[in-house]
Amino acid sequence: MMSGSGNSSGAASTAGADGRHDDDAALTEFLSSLMDYTPTIPDELVEHYLGRSGFNCPDLRLTRLVAVATQKFISDIASDALQHSKARVAAPIKDNKSKQPKDKRLVLTMEDLSKALREYGVNLKHPEYFADSPLTGTDPPTREE
């Protein structure tokens, strides 16, 4: 009985070891495939900003890993913003007669971007307008001309 359980645990452990070995092999394969793939973010930029944070690693594959991760992050945000933009375009217009038909162009606006970023924990506030003087909007008698 004991030997049987020992054998089963041994088998499990070997299976686990094999699993880990497979995982490590997969990871090694993935890292080597990174060298063939050129991410959109250049390596020099990633290296510089990683170095500024204290990241010290001479291995280029790790730099590529971070570059690919960053690219994926930005593309996820962009696709979310695209969804918001498409939803805005597809929304029915209340006043069809006065307004012109909606522009079918897909334009990235601050509104869509801030909505997309909010889900990722980035709060982006865009001011509505910029005033050219501090007294803009005040009452005319009080404003110094």
Partner: protein, 347 residues
């Protein structure tokens, strides 16, 4: 993909939305920000956007740089927690998992999940394998480019032996002739200007005490030391133990010889003489002291009655009478002291 506006200029410009464009923060970030803006534009184009305003692209470029810094910081912290200073792949995977934990990834709930087959890694593998490769437009050099500094080479560094255990950034050793006892080869071997002098001269310090075991060097050592001393008051060497010429005390010439009167000035002051009034006035020239020598015959009762009425003029006269009596007493004391100089102690 159309891009609103031209390249970033220093002055605020109005873009298509008629809003002021904010300036890029610092000069060190400008290049990185510009490069990341190009990358962001390419990513947006690959995603499907046709047009964009400038401000969202700037925002996304900033987010990109912050993300890279955040991943780096987290990886370093994981490496440090494991007792390493160099990050490895598992530190990076842990950092990516921590960032992705907000959104969630496959296998997050399992605490014993393998890092090699983490959901984060699988997602990235999907990106690498399936998505169309969009390389960066153009190529950039390694930055920041450090300007090559010209290192000062003195004659010492040229002749110096390269030690393996001493780093290069340390200053070179001083010339051996500066600290050897050999006075013959000292001045002729190395020109004075090119010799590196120590900042503080122990030789000078010790020579004062008589235990001068070092060879005398030229004036430049003293000059340099004086220079250093003048620059930094904390580097002034302590005063050695010997007699020093101290400036004499300057006694003001206008003071008269010490007389008995001067000695008893405090007594007169206490008694309320005219000198008190004189001293209250700050003037360079001391006015002459005037005493009224005379005997006042007014009685005390009259003085008291005047006080009760409270008339100011009378009070002044009363004060003068008081001063007269006190002056008389002071003069008496002076007379006695001049007659009997031996009995000064009683005062």
């Amino acid at each position: 993909m159309t891009y609103g506006g031209g390249d970033a200029a220093r002055e605020p410009q109005l873009d298509s939305q008629n809003t002021l464009k904010p300036r890029i923060s610092t000069t060190t970030n400008q290049f990185g920000h510009a490069v990341s803006r190009i990358s962001v534009t390419q990513i947006l184009e690959a995603t499907g956007f046709e047009h964009s305003y400038r401000r969202p692209i700037d925002a996304l470029a900033d987010v990109l740089l912050r993300y890279i810094s955040h991943v780096g910081k987290l990886s370093v912290s994981y490496a440090n927690m494991s007792g390493r200073i160099q990050c490895n792949v598992f530190d990076v995977i842990l950092a990516l998992e921590e960032i992705a934990s907000v959104h969630g990834f496959a296998g997050q709930s399992d605490p014993n999940h393998s890092l090699s087959s983490s959901g984060v890694v699988l997602d990235l593998w999907r990106v690498v394998g399936k998505e169309r490769e969009v390389p960066f437009a153009g190529s950039i050099a390694r930055f920041p480019v450090t300007r090559s500094r010209q290192v000062e080479t003195s004659q010492d560094t040229e002749n110096e032996v390269e030690w393996g255990h001493i780093p290069d950034w340390l200053p070179s050793f001083p010339d051996p002739s500066t600290y050897t006892n050999n006075s013959v080869s000292n001045e002729s071997s190395v020109p004075r200007k090119q010799m590196e002098r120590p900042h503080f001269s122990f030789r000078k310090f010790f020579s004062v005490n008589g235990s001068d075991g070092l060879a005398p060097s030229g004036n430049t050592n003293v000059e340099r030391e004086n220079e250093m001393v003048q620059r930094n008051p904390y580097l002034v060497p302590p005063l050695p133990h010997r007699e020093r010429q101290v400036s004499d005390m300057t006694i003001p010439s206008e003071r008269k010889a010490v007389s008995v009167f001067e000695t008893f000035a405090p007594v007169i002051e206490a008694s309320g003489g005219e000198i008190v009034e004189e001293r209250g006035v700050i003037s360079s020239k001391r006015p002459a002291v005037r005493f009224r020598i005379g005997v006042g015959t007014k009685s005390m009762s009259k003085m008291l009655s005047l006080r009760d009425t409270g008339m100011k003029e009378d009070l002044w006269t009363v004060k003068e009478e008081e001063m007269d009596s006190k002056k008389r007493r002071a003069e008496m004391i002076l007379k006695e002291s001049m007659e009997k100089p031996n009995e000064l102690a009683q005062l």
